[in-house]
């Protein structure tokens, strides 16, 4: 076929031709690139914004000792306003801690069931349901805390108010459980099946396979799941605002009402004068929350990716 080869030779001339597809490709690459790095831009932007808003307080009224160690949050006291967030930290921490006590057994159990026991339709249905559960708006959870848990706790434990650490902790635990289940299940699924096969062939029972082989192999992912739950607990606002009782208080028991860092910002920001010390103090709480949740999520992410060993 001499003709064919000669036309091929002739066509080498326009190797450097750029048609429309070439330009579309470049443009799309550029758009996708900016969409991709937008997350970084937003994170930095938000951090800069809340830092600027809180900066005035940080440099003028802020004293480390008062801010972190005083349990008195009295920003609207006209004579001597106090900006101590110790009680708020205690509120957030106690509610999140209880939430994890509720959520860890639930989510770990659910993940083990979905990942290791359920098969076929049951498994698929459960996975979809868990994801639906994660999508319930937090105000709905808050509503459940307010109108169902509140009277229930009053009845069951004979306490005057049912909006307290117990209520919020349970609500928050149930809220965090679905996402933790999802991630824990991913972690279990990532354990190669040959480990299970190996253990089973050595005579391990189903429980021994899970407890001695699968869970240890998945421990990083499981830890990541818990940390993401903690991050969720710290950051959650609406449900916590509705279910804690919103009283500045270092809790002495499960039945004490508390107030969370996030809820404080949500409840007070609308009523402060822009630029006032109170306003800036709220933004300083925002900076604090931002740093904490950022660190928790970053750690969780690193652990899930297995960058950390141990």
């Amino acid at each position: 076929m001499p003709e064919a080869s000669s036309t091929k030779l002739a066509s080498t001339a326009d190797f450097d031709r750029r048609d429309l597809d070439w330009y579309i490709d470049k443009v799309v690459q550029l758009i996708v690139f900016f969409a991709g790095i937008s997350a970084i831009i937003f994170i930095i932007g938000i951090f800069i914004f809340i830092t600027m808003e809180g900066l005035g307080f940080l440099f003028e009224d802020f004293t480390f000792k008062e801010f972190f160690l005083s349990p008195f949050w009295e920003p609207s006291d006209e004579d001597a306003p106090e900006y101590g967030i110790l009680a708020l930290i205690a509120g957030t921490a106690s509610v999140t801690g209880l939430a994890m006590i509720v959520a860890i057994p639930f989510s770990l159990g659910a993940a083990i069931y979905i990942g290791e026991f359920a098969t076929g339709k049951v498994r698929e249905t459960l996975k979809v349901l868990v994801e639906l559960l994660a999508a319930i708006p937090s105000v709905v959870w808050g509503f459940i805390g307010l109108s169902i848990m509140n009277p229930l706790i009053i009845d069951l434990f004979d306490v005057p108010v049912g909006l307290n650490v117990l209520n919020a902790g349970i609500i928050l635990g149930l809220m965090a459980a679905p996402i933790m289940t999802s991630i824990a299940e991913d972690a279990l699924k990532a354990v190669p099946d040959r480990y299970r096969e190996a253990a089973e062939a050595l005579g391990a029972t189903r429980w021994q396979v899970i407890f001695k082989t699968v869970l240890p192999a998945a421990k990083n992912g499981l830890l990541g799941a818990v940390l993401l739950g903690v991050g969720r607990g710290f950051g959650e606002t609406m449900a916590v605002l509705m279910a804690t009782g919103h009283a500045v208080n270092i809790p002495g028991s499960l039945f004490d009402p508390v107030r969370a860092l996030t809820a404080t910002i949500a409840a007070e920001l609308g009523e402060t004068a822009v630029g006032s010390p109170h306003y800036q103090a709220l933004f300083t709480i925002g900076i604090f929350l931002f740093i904490i949740t950022f660190l928790i999520n970053l750690t969780a992410d690193l652990i899930v990716r297995g960058i950390r060993k141990g």
């Binding site: 098969t119 190669p192 040959r194 480990y195 299970r196 096969e197 190996a198 253990a199 089973e200 062939a201 050595l202 005579g203 391990a204 029972t205 021994q208 001695k212 082989t213 240890p216 192999a217």
Partner: protein, 263 residues
């Protein structure tokens, strides 16, 4: 070795594995047809045949590991050391204690070498902390791995080379004191040097254990087994002493296969 816990029957049965009319289905697909096999105690028997002939399926039904798939159905019996392992009263854990398995891809657990060796032992010997060092040493010595790993017993088993991993997988079976070892193409993931080393090890274990080994590699079956079974399309075609099967096969299909006309 192990003079303490020697519970050998006075007379060991002639056949370690004995099947009668074994049929097996994956869902609706029948993978084994009326398999009647008698595998001699204390010998190395190899199973050969083209891909999909049912040799791995047969192997995996001898310790009932097939069942984890969930859609496997079996008819017929498999007797291991004169006990029908498909009897409803049989406990899977006890079956697997007697029958160790080595897989195609080495599958050490992601724990230390020492813990890998002791994994099975700990499952079956609750509470006895004694002699663990000795058990580890003797198991690793038997698989000719001791000198290589004795200084790094706390390293992860998954960090070893594939050949060493496979040896480790054989070694971790030994403390459980099985009588039968099933090997599902144990060398197929290894390079020629590793293959030779593992074959040598299998040959070392001859006599102490009944070894049933599935292989794709006819030369390996010839080198490393005493009896050989040829399977085709889910059926047993021929079962003979290895040298006879390769020199004077009785069936035409066997002859065609070993001469490389298919498979």
């Amino acid at each position: 070795m192990n003079a303490i816990i020697d519970q050998d029957d006075n007379q060991s049965p002639e056949y370690a594995i004995h099947t009668r009319k074994l049929n097996l289905w994956y869902g609706t697909f029948q993978a084994l047809f009326d398999v009647d096999l008698s595998i001699r105690n204390g010998m190395i028997t190899s199973l050969i045949g083209p891909s999909g002939c049912g040799k791995s399926t047969f192997l995996r039904s001898v310790n009932r590991i097939n069942e984890r798939l969930g859609y496997v159905r079996i008819e017929g019996d498999i007797d291991v050391l004169d006990n029908n392992i498909y009897d409803p009263a049989v406990e899977l854990v006890q079956v697997r204690k007697q029958i160790g398995m080595v897989f195609q891809r080495p599958n050490p657990l992601p724990i230390s070498i020492r813990d890998n060796i002791l994994f099975g032992h700990r499952l079956h010997n609750k509470g006895s902390k004694a002699d663990q060092d000795e058990i580890v040493e003797s198991a690793l010595k038997q698989v000719l791995l001791w000198d290589k790993v004795k200084d790094r017993l706390n390293h992860k088993g998954t960090e070893l080379s594939l050949e060493e991993q496979q040896k480790l997988c054989i070694a971790r079976l030994l403390p459980v004191k099985p009588s039968v070892l099933l090997m599902d193409e144990p060398c197929s993931a290894l390079d020629p040097k590793g293959t030779a080393a593992v074959e040598e090890l299998i040959w070392e274990l001859r006599g102490e254990y009944t070894i049933l080994i599935v292989t794709h590699n006819m030369a390996q079956a010839r080198r490393a087994s005493e009896e050989c079974i040829f399977m085709l399309m889910g059926k047993v075609i021929e079962h003979q002493a290895t040298e006879d099967l390769f020199v004077t096969p009785a069936q035409k299909e066997t002859a065609d296969y070993i001469e490389g006309r298919y498979g």
